[in-house]
């Protein structure tokens, strides 16, 4: 696409792109209408009512109530249309389909690290299949970053200490930009990469490509053993820590009576700040692993624990945060 050689739009390469562009055009058209109307009015008035002699004064017009109401109410109604449309697109963008392919992204000054469930790990490059929803769970090892796919019209901040997520379904095979859009220091503008959208077969072939030491969950399992997590987290549930079998997606009751849904964010927090949410009936004995396990490895551990819950739909609620307590309820 282009006009006079200047490109005006990024590629429409995801299922969101068409909708967001249409919304964009709707607002452009509405804005252009109002901008033109006012511009034409002030120019025409400026010419027609120009001062013709030194002593001339304008007509005494104080105002007009119906007119005021009209130009308050009509823009309000148009604004509500924009809001509704935008909100509906947003909900769509914030609701990953259950069957979405899971990928993890970790931002770090100044690179994007991606991990596939099958075990592939890549830096500043992301391979995804075309026509299949992909959910990216994002976090950061240091400062804020933001994962942005302009051709997919979506982005999400990477926030240290918690998981955020976005999803997309690529519709066109090709290579597109990945940008970091949250300023993160010296080499912020170097924190860019490309997303490679592939035909499903090519993607499978790429996944099968060598150099992978087992799946992400398997790597997590090895870490689980290295860190001796199994000493307490016995399968039987009789250990000093709760059993981790089949917990993902379930609601657990905590020591203080509050409840929490077990999702990726909860699992992560239960490792790094293990004392904050203690499952009822257990003692706060587990050491906090804050700073001891890298975000990459945390992802592996989380994925391993998830693999212990085969039936669970592991879809985390959008915007789920680490400490998801309800501030209106005090202990």
């Amino acid at each position: 696409m282009g006009s006079f050689g200047i490109p005006l739009f990024p590629e429409q390469a995801s299922t969101f792109a068409r909708d967001i562009d249409a919304l964009y055009f709707f607002i452009v058209a509405t804005s252009a209408f109002f901008a033109l109307a006012v511009t034409v009015a002030v120019i025409v008035f400026g010419i027609v009512y120009r001062r013709r002699h030194e002593g001339e004064v304008g007509a005494r017009i104080e105002g007009n109530l119906p007119l005021e109401l009209l130009w308050s109410v009509i823009p309000t109604m148009i604004a509500m249309v924009m809001f509704g449309w935008g909100a509906s697109s947003y909900f769509h963008m914030r609701t990953p389909p259950a069957e979405a392919l899971q990928i993890y992204a970790v931002g770090k000054q100044w690179m994007w690290k991606f991990q596939h469930l099958e075990g592939q790990r890549e830096i500043n490059e992301l391979h995804v299949p075309v026509n299949r929803p992909v959910k990216v769970t994002i976090t950061s090892e240091d400062v804020l970053h933001s994962l942005y796919f302009p051709s997919f019209r979506t982005k999400m901040d990477a926030i240290p200490g918690r998981y955020t997520q976005l999803w997309f379904e690529a519709t066109k095979v090709g290579e597109y930009h990945i940008f970091c859009t949250e300023y993160c220091g010296t080499n912020h503008s170097g924190m860019i990469g490309k997303v490679v959208v592939m035909e499903p077969d090519d993607y499978q072939a790429w996944l099968a490509g060598g150099g992978v030491e087992g799946t992400l969950a398997e790597r997590g399992q090895r870490l689980f053993q290295d860190l001796a997590c199994g000493t307490c987290h016995l399968d039987t549930g009789k250990g000093r820590g709760p059993s981790l079998n089949d917990i993902v997606g379930k609601t657990v009751t905590l020591a203080d009576g509050a409840t929490a849904v077990v999702d990726e964010g909860y699992l992560r927090e239960s490792i790094v700040n293990s004392q904050v949410k203690i499952v009822q009936g257990y003692q706060p004995l587990m050491p906090a692993f804050q700073g001891l396990v890298s975000e990459d490895n945390l992802v592996a551990l989380v994925e391993y624990v998830k693999s212990l819950s085969p039936q669970a739909t592991t879809q985390a609620p959008a915007g789920a945060t680490a400490p998801a307590a309800d501030p209106t309820k005090k202990n």
């Binding site: 904050v276 706060p284 050491p287 400490p323 307590a325 501030p327």
Partner: protein, 227 residues
């Protein structure tokens, strides 16, 4: 908006008061301007502390156990004593304003000095408390030491504790400084029943500082004391 406005319609005095500044028409107008100015300033203070209180509230809900445990390391008797001292200083301040209103110069000075003394007592106790925290390495940052399993989140509590009480103490130091000047002015006989605005304004400020502490005390010292 306009009906909420009390207009200054007072008539000018034949002989202007010494304290009347040139750009005001009457003492009444001058006083109302000062009062409104002070209240608007206190409004900014409410929002200033408001941001801090929200941070406290959020983390207290998130990390209640850590907050409860950290709070238990504070000395409740010192906190309660300081609360009493500060409320007492508010009383002496109110009485100072009253003495100024009724043109009792020596009583005004006396009450103002009492307020300053009580303010200094509060700050002195605060110094003792801070020294204790330094000794026990409860100051967040690289030197923080805690045996607790909630050590990390305890640091948030202590960060807020020091920021909140530190800013409060800073306000008190400013208050004591201003009050010293006002006391000197009162001793010099600058005030009478027509002009005591500085005393009154200092009073408003001091009561506000008291008011902040009224919230800080239960929030910081009394998170969970019953077990």
């Amino acid at each position: 908006m306009s009906n909420a406005v009390a207009h200054a319609e007072a008539h000018g005095h034949a002989v202007p008061h010494d304290a009347l500044q040139h750009h005001f028409e009457t003492m009444q107008q001058q006083k109302e301007a000062s009062t409104l100015g002070m209240w608007v300033f206190l409004l900014t203070e409410v929002l200033f502390f408001g941001g801090l209180f929200f941070a406290y509230l959020l983390y207290r809900v998130w990390y209640f156990d850590a907050f409860a445990e950290a709070s238990r390391t504070l000395d409740i008797s010192l906190g309660a004593f300081n609360t009493a001292v500060l409320i007492g200083s508010s009383l002496t301040m109110a009485l100072a304003v009253r003495s100024a209103q009724t043109n009792q110069r020596s009583a005004t000075v006396r009450w103002l000095i009492s307020t300053i003394v009580l303010g200094c007592v509060f700050l002195g106790v605060k110094v003792i408390e801070y020294a204790d925290k330094f000794e026990h390495h409860h100051v967040p940052g690289p030197n923080f030491v805690s045996e607790s399993v909630w050590a990390a989140q305890e640091q948030i509590f202590f960060s807020l504790y020091f920021t909140m009480t530190g800013l409060h103490a800073l306000h008190m130091i400013v208050g004591v400084g201003v009050m010293s000047v006002v006391t000197w002015m009162a001793a010099k006989g600058r005030f009478d029943e027509h002009y005591y605005t500085p005393v009154e304004m200092t009073g408003l400020y001091w009561h506000f500082v008291d008011l902040v502490w009224i919230y800080l005390f239960p929030l910081l010292y009394l998170v969970e004391r019953h077990n």
